[in-house]
């Protein structure tokens, strides 16, 4: 009995194939049932995201399980096995455990340290659990994966710093303003990037949106959809002091804002800081504004530079994270191997208790003068002796099966105590 994983990811396959192999949320319960049938009722979890499709199983036969999973994926999606096989990776045992822990900790993600994957692994596990497709081993494996992922996040900076331009902009805004709620953002132009950045800011609490466009009708239309306020282009200078955050993304071939406009705005704002993002190419805001004390201006290259630096900083954390993952794998593996000794421990306990009971009855038969209470006390004493004697060998046995060849160790114990070999 062991853990196996079979699947493909952005490392091994193109998006076209991943799309075809994706499990629809509604079809997932049925897929879990079919998969379990193929694997003789093994505990299973299917993880299907845009970057990976993986099947985790606690299979009786680790040699055959990957092949069965491959067959299942092929049949379910109608993709020939030959086409699938070169892109699939298959791990068993410690490797499979380590892979899951790395995936859950976002060390195997396209954007290392992104936080979405842990939620996706969690959802995949909950779906399998609600379909009663998991067992004790799979349950413990995934719980351990969540705890390792949490450790990785809290003990390293793997998730520190944003790595997309929109979120970098929000991050910078948060470093300038105490609270984005109540802040006013002015969007000049209607570029796609500007819209995305605005959405990011609104999701973080920005409440007032001023929309400025050369076509006032367009600004009015957009303002209606996001409950913003359309400002005529001619009133840009007048409205500028109201803006804490300025996003410029027009197609204008020249600068539309410069130090003069910002200086006038700052005076009217009592020098409260302003955050400006120039996403336009060519740029809309004169770079000379960057030298002003209370204006923090960034263009696309600046934001990309921060995103790249943050990504690099995350990459430098990977070694430390892998050490945390490895420690987690050791713990889980120890626990899993310890389970091999369980039937032997049960037999050993039963055997010694049978001896105890037999000898106890003999002794009690020769002591008829004992009261009921005294007989109970003697029985209790023998139980305590047996349990105390067993405690140390049981603990040692669990350790030995992890560190040594479990078959040899268990065979020796069975011979020592005269236990029957398991069928």
């Amino acid at each position: 009995m062991n853990v196996v994983v079979s699947g493909l990811s952005h490392h091994t396959s193109p998006v076209e194939l991943r799309e075809r192999l994706h499990f629809d949320e509604k079809a997932l319960p049925n897929a879990l049932i079919q998969l379990r049938k193929q694997l003789d009722d093994a505990g299973v979890v299917i993880l299907s995201t845009c970057n990976r499709v993986e099947v985790y199983a606690h299979a009786a036969d680790t040699a055959e399980a990957p092949g069965r999973i491959r067959r299942f994926l092929s049949e379910w999606h109608g993709i020939p096995e030959d086409e699938l096989a070169p892109t699939l990776y298959e791990y068993a045992g410690r490797e499979a455990v380590g892979h899951l822990f790395r995936v859950a900790s976002s060390l195997d993600s396209l954007v290392v340290g992104e936080q979405q994957i842990l939620g996706q692994v969690h959802d995949a596990f909950l779906t399998a659990q609600s379909e009663q497709a998991t067992d004790k081993i799979i349950g413990t494996l995934f719980q351990k994966a969540f705890s390792v992922a949490k450790d990785v996040r809290s003990k390293s900076s793997i998730s520190a710093g944003k790595v997309s331009i929109g979120s970098v902009a929000v991050d910078l805004a948060v470093s300038i303003f105490m609270d984005l709620a109540g802040k006013t953002v002015m969007v000049i132009g209607s570029g796609k990037m500007g819209e995305l950045t605005l959405k990011n800011l609104v999701s973080r609490g920005v409440e007032h949106v001023l929309l400025v466009n050369r076509s006032h009708e367009k600004a009015v239309r957009l303002a209606e959809t996001i409950r913003g306020e359309a400002v005529p282009y001619e009133s840009l200078q007048e409205a500028l002091p109201r803006a804490d955050i300025v996003i410029a993304s027009t197609a204008a071939p020249q600068y539309i804002l410069g130090p003069g406009q910002f200086l006038a705005a700052l005076k009217r704002r009592s020098h409260a800081p302003m955050f400006a993002i120039d996403i336009a190419v060519p740029r809309n805001i004169d770079p000379a504004v960057k030298k002003m004390d209370d204006v923090y201006l960034y263009d696309v290259d600046d934001l990309q530079q921060v995103a790249d630096a943050n990504l690099e900083a995350r990459r430098q954390e990977i070694d430390q994270c892998l050490r945390i993952v490895e420690a987690g794998v050791d713990q889980f593996w120890g626990w899993l191997q310890g389970l091999v000794a369980e039937p032997t421990i049960v037999s050993m306990t039963e055997e010694l208790n049978a001896i105890r009971e037999r000898e106890l009855q003999k002794t009690l038969a020769s002591l008829p003068e004992l009261t009921e209470k005294q007989r109970d006390e003697v029985a209790y004493l023998t139980k305590r002796i047996v349990n105390t004697i067993l405690q140390r060998p049981m603990r040692q046995l669990k350790r030995e099966v992890v560190e040594e060849d479990p078959h040899k160790v268990l065979h020796l114990v069975k011979r020592l105590f005269g236990l029957k070999e398991a069928p």
Binding site: L172, M178, P273, K290, D293, A313
Partner: protein, 282 residues
């Protein structure tokens, strides 16, 4: 009693040094519990120093405020209390990384340069009026000190933002707006207390004018106080009216306090903290 004074003084120093260690550990690994540890150690160190202050007061029956060592002692006690209050009430605990080591450095400087003061009898202060004047002055100095450290944090964060150095301490420090508010709060209270103590001092000097001599107001000490009032008045009013804030204000507060500290040390070490400076010269 002298032994007890020594024990509490050096225990406080050890706690401040440990607090600095916790601050450095936080900067290195970012573990939030290090900040909690630092806050605890600073608080304990502050209490130890307060006990030193209390023991010296009890030993001689005189407020220990009149020599440089005692002054710095009170300065560290008040600075610690203000730093902890600001860090907790404004939810800017990361600032303890700036406050803690600076307070520890000041404490260490006091221990090295003036530890003998611990066993010297303080000079008497002429009445409650003067004690209040001196006490309020130290409270204001401590507020300016913490404000100057906050201004360092502001400049550090603003420069990081300008240069796009967005790793390391950048993510741990509060926003510019939050730093600006903390800075303004500290300047406001410092300025109010200093203005009160300035007026109190002026009244007292007039009452005791005969004792101080005719040209007491020209002494370096008074000139420094006047300079401080003007400087912090400019800082407070320009910020309140919105004429100046951000890095310019931070630089003003920092440089202003630097000058104050330098003149305090210089006058103290050269023993020019005297109202009769010009009288003697003439």
């Amino acid at each position: 009693m002298n032994v007890a004074v020594d024990i509490f003084f050096y225990l406080g120093l050890a706690l401040f040094v440990l607090a600095t260690g916790a601050a450095l550990a936080y900067l290195r690994n970012g573990a939030a519990r290090m900040l909690t540890t630092e806050a605890g150690l600073l608080a304990a160190g502050g209490v130890a120093l307060l006990i030193t202050f209390g023991l010296r007061w009890a030993m001689y029956g005189l407020l220990p405020l009149t020599n440089m060592g005692d002054s710095l002692n009170l300065f560290v006690i008040l600075g610690t209390a203000i730093a902890l209050f600001i860090a907790h009430s404004n939810n800017v605990r990361t600032l303890l990384c700036f406050y803690g080591p600076a307070l520890a450095a000041l404490y260490l400087f006091n221990a090295i340069s003036g530890h003998t003061f611990l066993h010297e009898q303080p000079k008497p202060l002429n009445g409650v009026f003067l004690a209040v004047h001196v006490g309020l002055a130290f409270l204001a100095y401590s507020l300016f000190f913490v404000a100057s450290l906050t201004s360092v944090a502001y400049v550090f964060q603003a420069r990081n933002l300008k240069r796009l150095h967005t790793t390391g301490l950048f993510h741990k420090l509060p926003s510019l707006e939050q730093l600006d508010r903390s800075l303004f709060k500290l300047i406001t209270y410092g300025y109010i207390f200093f203005a009160i103590t300035f007026v109190l001092g002026f009244i007292w000097a007039h009452v005791d004018a005969d004792e101080l001599g005719a040209r007491w107001w020209m002494s370096p000490k008074i000139m420094r106080a006047l300079f401080m009032v003007i400087l912090y008045s400019v800082a407070f009013h320009t910020r309140r009216l919105g004429w100046m804030r951000g890095q310019k204000l931070a630089y003003l507060v920092f440089v202003g306090f630097g000058l104050l500290l330098a003149s305090y040390m210089a006058l103290g070490l050269l023993q020019l903290e005297d109202f009769y400076f010009w009288s003697k010269a003439s």
